[in-house]
């Protein structure tokens, strides 16, 4: 019970710290939570929900202007011409007459699912590679590390493109292609942290008491490097969103019937930039917002969980420094004056 309370308090302190000291990080978390909620309640929130897993197209209302930007007369006309499939589209429609707002909402679902899956999977991959490599050691470590090094030399974008073109398009393939390479890349940090833990006294004790490799990894190493794992996971969120969008933009992404922000920009936004700028601008803003949230939250988390990596918290101001320098100078002058009067010994 006491333990539970302590944990709860710890958590409370964490969030208080996050919102107090790292306001931007707090905002980042809020944005992420917002998108996660949107993703969960997409079917409820979307004004034109999916039917049979398909976004409803209504080609009669293709490329309709956002309702919120319409003039009064246009609004009236939109209401008049509305059919059973709808006619009022708050953020307009694309060239197939799909509601942009609904598409964006379902796109959030795609992005959130990708983010969460990739985060977990890449953490699993990196922990498995990093910890085994460090604890087994010897030639195994050497071989694995050289392979990881060579893997890191291949630009991640290329690996992603290659994997996607070989595995085919789709959500599962995307998750695999995004998380495995980043997991391999992340394993290096995990490995060095594991080595630091491995060399500590209690690990030697554990070895003396007969703890096996597996036992050590599960009961000692992972709990000890957990903050690092979490920081790593949070840090990779933003790049997952950006990568997904870029890959979809290049045409190697998810299937066309899966709503995706990057795909909306590539397929609809790019083609309708003048006559329907909302198709390009809204998904772009969503991607930017989500990446922003993820980055800021990741930074804040890193600072809070791992003070060793802290950077740029110290304050410094030129005014202060100049004051300090003047003080020093004055002191010096005083000292010299004293010296001149012969009051200081040893002159």
């Amino acid at each position: 019970m006491k333990e539970k309370n302590r944990l709860r308090r710890k958590r409370f302190i964490f969030f208080r710290e996050l919102f107090k000291k790292k306001t931007v990080g707090g905002i980042g978390l809020a944005i992420l939570v917002f998108f996660i909620l949107v993703a969960i309640f997409a079917d409820v929130l979307a004004p034109y929900p999916m039917q049979m897993g398909v976004m409803q197209a209504d080609v009669l209302h293709s490329l309709q202007k956002p309702y919120i930007f319409m003039t009064a007369a246009e609004k009236q006309e939109a209401v008049m011409t509305a059919t059973s499939l709808g006619g009022i589209h708050l953020l307009g429609t694309d060239s197939m007459g799909r509601d942009t707002l609904s598409y964006i909402i379902y796109g959030a679902r795609t992005s959130v699912i990708l983010c969460l899956c990739c985060m977990v999977l890449s953490a699993v991959v990196s922990v498995i590679i990093g910890t085994t490599s460090a604890t087994v050691g010897g030639w195994f470590d050497l071989v694995v590390q050289r392979l990881v090094d060579s893997w890191l030399c291949i630009p991640s974008m290329l690996v992603l493109l290659m994997l996607m073109s070989m595995l085919g398009h789709g959500m599962l393939q995307m998750i695999f292609a995004l998380s495995v390479p980043s997991g391999i890349a992340g394993s290096r940090i995990i490995r060095s942290a594991t080595i630091a833990v491995k060399d500590s006294g209690y690990m030697k004790n554990c070895t003396l008491l007969g703890g096996g490799t597996w036992w050590k990894i599960v009961h000692h190493i992972i709990p000890n490097i957990l903050p690092l794992i979490i920081t790593n996971m949070a840090g990779s969120l933003g790049s997952v969103v950006l990568m997904e969008a870029s890959i979809s933009f290049l045409g190697f992404g998810v299937d066309p019937s899966t709503p995706s922000w990057g795909y909306l920009i590539a397929q609809e936004g790019k083609a309708n930039m003048f006559i329907a700028p909302w198709l390009c601008i809204t998904p772009g803003i969503c991607i930017s917002l989500m990446v922003f949230g993820a980055n800021m939250f990741g930074d804040a988390l890193r600072d809070l969980l791992d003070p060793r990596l802290k950077g740029g918290v110290g304050t410094f101001s030129i005014k202060k420094m100049k004051k300090l320098a003047q003080k020093q100078l004055k002191k010096m002058e005083k000292f010299r004056a004293k010296q001149a009067k012969g009051k200081v010994a040893g002159a």
């Binding site: 030399c153 291949i154 630009p155 290329l158 070989m166 990057g262 304050t315």
Partner: protein
């Protein structure tokens, strides 16, 4: 120093071997596709070819290990094979395209460095001022914006409003420097954006870190003026992690250049690799990836040497 460079260059060889193994394994995940591609290519123009013959011709009928050694022997000799769909050797295609990608990368790095370091220093010097906050917000925005999004808008809107689009036809730098730069500047600037955001933040934090050090305090107390302290003491030391970061980001810059080359029609390897992937031109894809990997390795080497220049404390042995 020379000894160190020689040692590092020699160490590149096993690294290249490992990259080759990795690429080879990646490309063999789905065997037979290259064969299908060739059979289709010929059948579409009316030539019937035997699948087994194609397989034998590509050396795909042998065990994987033998295939690898045959292929690797060729790679070592600089022979990356022939492109399946272009009537050229992979080597000659890449030789023509590498300078283009390299130029884009260099201009991107120069631009991002030239923009981010002064701004980062400025932020550090005027910490918590309005300017600092504005610049930091801009940096964060740069970091979060998907570059292809901005690039598409930059490409199309000016064309419609002012009738300007960067040239779509590549001209060598030596042939016509101005036209060449016209083509490269906008994409390079765009792919530098994210880089600027990252570097600016890093330069700022690192400079602040250094500013808190005792020797900087000493410099202040000596009565040195701001410029000397900033540039003579803080700058050089804060550059060390910045150089490391620039080196580390080359790999991700290539991702950006793939998008930029495709969008702005720059005939570099990034454009080639996307085309090769969609037509399943396996030898060409392999060649592109290996060249990119070597490119990253070489840049890493250069960065390490710069590191030594910036920080004499670093031991090269």
């Amino acid at each position: 120093m020379v000894k160190y460079i020689i040692k590092r260059v020699l160490l590149l060889i096993p690294a290249v071997l490992l990259v080759c193994i990795t690429v080879f394994l990646l490309m063999r995940l789905i065997p037979g596709s290259a064969v299908d591609a060739i059979v289709y290519k010929y059948s579409s123009i009316g030539v019937e070819v035997d699948e087994d013959a194609v397989r034998a011709q590509l050396g795909l009928d042998k065990p994987a290990a033998i295939q690898f050694f045959v292929w690797f022997k060729d790679v070592i000799q600089g022979n990356l094979g022939d492109s399946l769909f272009q009537n050229k050797s992979v080597h000659s295609i890449l030789a023509a395209e590498l300078p283009v990608t390299f130029e884009l990368g260099i201009i991107t790095i120069i631009l991002s460095t030239v923009i981010s370091i002064p701004l980062g220093l400025l932020c550090a010097a005027r910490q918590d001022s309005g300017l600092d906050i504005i610049l930091r917000v801009i940096a964060i925005i740069f970091l979060s914006i998907p570059v292809f999004w901005i690039a598409t808008m930059v490409l199309v809107y000016p064309a419609a409003w002012w009738g300007y689009a960067p040239p779509a036809d590549y001209v060598g730098f030596l042939e016509n420097p101005w036209k060449n730069l016209q083509m490269f500047l906008i994409p390079a600037l765009l792919s530098a954006l994210g880089q600027v955001g990252m570097q600016m933040r890093l330069v700022r934090t690192q400079t602040l870190e250094v500013m808190r050090q005792d020797y900087v305090r000493t410099a202040w107390s000596k009565g040195l003026n701001e410029r000397t302290v900033l540039f003579g003491y803080a700058f050089r030391n804060s550059m060390i992690p910045t150089i490391t970061m620039i080196g580390g980001s080359v790999s991700s810059l290539i991702g950006g250049s793939v998008i930029m080359e495709n969008l702005f029609n720059i005939p570099g390897i990034g454009k080639e690799v996307v085309a090769a992937l969609s037509s399943r031109d396996y030898p060409l894809v392999q060649g592109c990836v290996i060249i990119f990997a070597i490119y990253v390795m070489v840049i890493n080497l250069v960065v390490d040497i710069c590191y030594k220049w910036a920080d004499p404390r670093v031991s090269l042995e």
